[in-house]
Amino acid sequence: MRQPAQPEPGASPSIWSRLSTITDYFAWPLRTSHYLELVNPLWTTHKMQARVVKVWDETKDARTLTLRPGLNWRGHRAGQHVRVGIPANGKHYTRTYTISSPPEREDDCFTITVKAIDKGTISHHIVRNIKVGDYLPIGLPQGDFYLPDAQPIQPLFITAGSGITPAFSMINSLIAQGRLPDTCHIHYAPHEFDVVLGKELKAMDRYNDRYHLHLMYSREGDDPSRNRFSSAQLDALCPDWKERDVYACGPPSLLEAIEQCMEDAGCSRQLHVERFRAPFTDIPDDAVGGRVRFAQSDVETDGDSETPLLKVAEEAGMNPPHGCRMGICHTCNTTLVSGCVRDLRTGEVLNEAGSIVQTCICAAAGDCELDL
């Protein structure tokens, strides 16, 4: 709330930001934007929101949301992702999704395609509960997985599951610009009916001579293992793969296999990979403490499963903020960067990056890193 919107470096303040400096005197301690939000949530400058204008079920467990971003949105590059805040069970979760629409889209909207994954509470929530008219907080487009401006290149896309989204955006962008080079695309899915954006992919394949799509169904046919990624398969589907720039996105096992294959062929430099990072850390079975890292202070030490992290920090020579030492005043609140901690009062384990940790009543449950 206290952080004003950062203007682009070098740009002079806009008329609106000059005006809002004055109107903020009327709105204090809030900002003008908080009151504009009452009229239209898309006009806010203190946070950015997007309105869900369309939901479309791609498969039985994948859904495309069309989002209209607020005024401060800036265009993305095909392949970039965006942070989306989702309220589920009263809590606010942040997840990163690739923008699946090309930047050339004319109505200023963009789409994200979400696949419900096993145990993924949030992706399930998006796929089942989000409806048209909802407002979701969003970030600005980020990420360096995009095509270079300098053409021509001959891309080879290797994707699996919801890893299709950045490739879909890139290919569509090239088509919209009318400069699609010779493109090969290998996509893996368990079954034909599981292919996210399948209809669109097939249509693109039909209408574009230079786009070559190979859909591989890893759980269909007599011998499904033949449909898994291998260099032999690559030779068969795309004989000139060693000359191509490879853009890969999918589950870690696939990415590892591709990396190995490219390394063996001596073409690692041609490989571009986008990884989806898991927001949760697995809870270790024994959970008996571990290495504790304090990111800002750059201190690393050991913490056992009984000693509050505040004490661990103090014994390591730090003096982090604290108050009551009994969990009521929240002066010691900090964020979990990664790893697991346990609330000593309830035994609850926090393992989601970004969780708020009260250091005076939480102890390490395995390795952890705190923003202190």
């Binding site: 005197y25 301690p29 009151y35 606010h92 009521i328 005043c329």
Partner: protein
């Protein structure tokens, strides 16, 4: 076995068991937080913001009914009635913001939602005290050391004698006047309610030791004053300047009326907040504690102290919301970071638990709670009134 010095007839084990039962209530509620609670706080915030901005425009609207306009409805009674409505609504909006929203957000009651907009460490509230300063003196000092003499600054706020345990001195003769002054200037009082300032008045530190603190408070005060007494009145006065060529009224009058309206709204909030907050720990029957009593205090005893030192006020649903659910002061002190809409649900359970253990549960009407607070204040302005307590200076200064 009884080794504790709390005024209850319970064994040590019983107190710990009592604490565990409270903990169970707490955990049950914390585990069940969800969409319903989020919807509640979002609705209160939206209502408050809508009310705050529209009431200010109702105050503006009333300016079109001052007699100088010459139309049929342009009379002082009409103008003042409309302005009164605006002032009342603005006062309520400020009460909602301070009590049901900010007080509770700053207690980290809503941090569990992880909504970056509703976090205790970034929220700034509509009062002169900077929120982080208040969080220290309130969340840390007051909530940890509730009603412990020489530790909890809120016991008499350094200017009043609220328990006979405080030693009488002649300055307390004036405390009925402080009482009224603090009621009217509660916002300002809270802003300067600081250990450092208190120490300075006792000559324990130098002004330059806490200049950065004063600057922070000063900036917050300036922005509050700039909003209520400069920005909103000035905008009206600027519009009034061209109009005043045609309608015979002075832009200065317009400025004064809007500033005055805002002042009254702040006054309404001050009086209400003072009334509710003074009913929290000062009515008859609330216990105070000495440092000796709380030495080596366990979690169970901490719970017991919170319960013995706090008082509830009974009232309707709307009353509870307008009091920021501080009418459930006991529940708030037991579970300071439980979201406020749940206090009314746990209150019957806490009360039943207190009855079972024979612990007094101080709950009564606003009339009784504020009445005894006021009588207490008058009585304790004079010496006596109960068992005095001689603090053991050496020990106190060591801790």
């Amino acid at each position: 076995m009884k080794t504790h010095q709390y005024p209850v007839d319970l064994t040590d084990e019983q107190i710990e068991e009592f604490g565990r039962e409270l903990e169970a209530i707490r955990n049950e509620v914390f585990d069940s937080r969800g969409d319903r609670d989020r919807a509640y706080i979002l609705k209160v915030i939206k209502t408050q913001r809508t009310m705050a901005v529209s009431s200010r425009f109702v105050i503006y609207l009333s300016l079109f009914f001052i007699p100088a306009w010459g139309h049929a409805l342009a009379t002082w009674p009409v103008a003042l009635t409309i302005m009164g409505l605006g002032v009342f609504a603005l006062g309520i909006a400020k009460i909602l913001e301070n009590m049901e929203i900010a007080h509770n957000v700053l207690h980290a009651q809503w941090d569990w939602m992880k909504d970056p907009e509703i976090q205790s460490n970034t929220w700034e509230w509509d009062t002169m005290s900077p929120s982080d300063r208040w969080m220290h003196s309130h969340n840390v000092v007051h909530h940890t050391w509730t009603n412990v003499l020489e530790k909890d600054l809120d016991v008499g706020y350094g200017i009043m004698r609220v328990t006979p345990m405080q030693k009488w001195k002649p300055a307390f003769l004036l405390q009925p006047i402080y009482f009224i002054l603090l009621m009217l200037l509660f916002e300002e009082g809270v802003a300067i309610h600081e250990q450092a300032i208190d120490d300075h008045l006792k000559g324990k530190n130098k002004l330059k030791d806490f200049t950065p603190l004063l600057k922070r408070i000063g900036y917050k005060v300036w922005r509050q004053v700039a909003k209520d007494y400069i920005a909103w009145p000035l905008a009206a006065a600027l519009v009034a300047i061209p109009i005043s060529f045609y309608v015979p009224f002075s832009p200065l009058l317009v400025f004064g009326m809007v500033a005055g309206a805002n002042a009254v709204a702040n006054l309404i909030r001050n009086i209400w907040a003072f009334t509710i907050i003074f009913c929290g720990h000062f009515p008859a029957g609330a216990h105070n504690f000495t440092l000796e009593q709380v030495e080596g205090e366990t979690r169970g005893r901490w719970y017991l102290r919170q319960m013995l030192g706090s008082c509830n006020i009974e009232g309707s649903k709307l009353f509870h919301i307008l009091s920021g659910n501080l009418s459930h002061q006991i529940e708030h002190h037991l579970f300071p970071d439980m979201c406020s809409n749940r206090y009314k649900e746990v209150a019957p359970r806490v009360r039943a638990l207190a009855d079972r253990y024979g612990i007094p549960y101080n709950s009564a009407s606003l009339f009784r709670q504020f009445g005894t607070t006021w009588l207490n204040n008058l009585r304790l302005a004079f010496p006596g009134g109960g068992e005095p307590y001689e603090p053991r200076r050496e020990e106190a200064s060591q801790s």
